[in-house]
């Protein structure tokens, strides 16, 4: 079956612009996660959705970052007024939510802020 998909695969933007990153999870997966991975760094947790609600937003770096999920499916991560330090690979993962906690990852969106 189809895996997790993310778009765009690459995004180059200018400092101060807003960007939206999209994640389509595996069909039927109720849990969805956003991570950030900088070069040579580990996976940094950003936010977790169960259904359309976000029980844990503790990893969002600042109020410039927000995320939503609609219909228990697609999620969008929005970064407002981008800064150069936002440059990273943004990864999305989904999980069945019941009976299995494994997370299945998408290919990521590489964000470059000039």
């Amino acid at each position: 079956g189809a895996g997790v998909s993310q778009s765009p695969s690459n995004k180059v933007t200018e400092k101060g612009k807003d960007v939206e990153l999209r994640c389509d999870p595996i069909s039927g997966h109720t849990a969805l996660y956003w991570y950030r991975q900088s070069l040579g760094q580990g996976l940094e947790f950003l936010i977790y959705f169960q259904g359309n609600s976000a029980p844990d937003k503790s990893g969002l770096p600042s109020d410039r970052f927000s995320a939503e999920r609609t219909g228990g499916s697609v999620s969008t991560l929005t970064i407002q007024r981008t800064q150069q330090e936002d440059s990273a690979v943004y990864l999305c993962a989904s999980s069945p939510g019941t009976g299995g906690y494994e997370q299945f990852f998408g290919p990521g969106t590489r964000l470059t802020v000039l």
Partner: protein
């Protein structure tokens, strides 16, 4: 505080030379320990879940084991296509949080 430490940071093997990667963890009640493989420019690929001490799982040349303090990923007779970064993560029972705590990974290079 929940923590995951992986060692070594990098490992270079000759094809056919077996070895083990280590994942040490401290967690307030282990729900599960996960191993992933990550190739450059790609998202992590799920390999194994281990739930309790003594559990073992195998897939091709890989075997994962778990104790109360650490997990090992044994690689038997590796091939160049096994070259990747191997990530370990744990999930605790604390709270209602499904967040995984990640190690920094071991970068494995297998030379032909």
């Amino acid at each position: 505080e929940d923590q995951v430490t992986q060692s070594p940071e990098a490992l270079r093997l000759q094809e056919g030379e077996s070895s083990s990667l280590n994942c040490s963890y401290t967690v307030s009640g282990l729900r599960g320990l996960f191993w992933y493989r990550q190739d450059p420019g790609k998202g992590p690929e799920f390999l194994f879940t281990l739930y309790s001490a003594g559990e073992e799982k195998e897939k091709e040349r890989l075997k994962a084991t778990l104790t109360k303090k650490e997990s090992f990923l044994h690689i038997t007779a590796p091939k160049p296509e096994d070259s990747a970064t191997y990530l370990c993560a744990v999930q605790s029972y604390a709270g209602n949080n499904r967040k995984l705590i990640w190690g920094l990974g071991t970068s494995l290079a297998v030379n032909p």
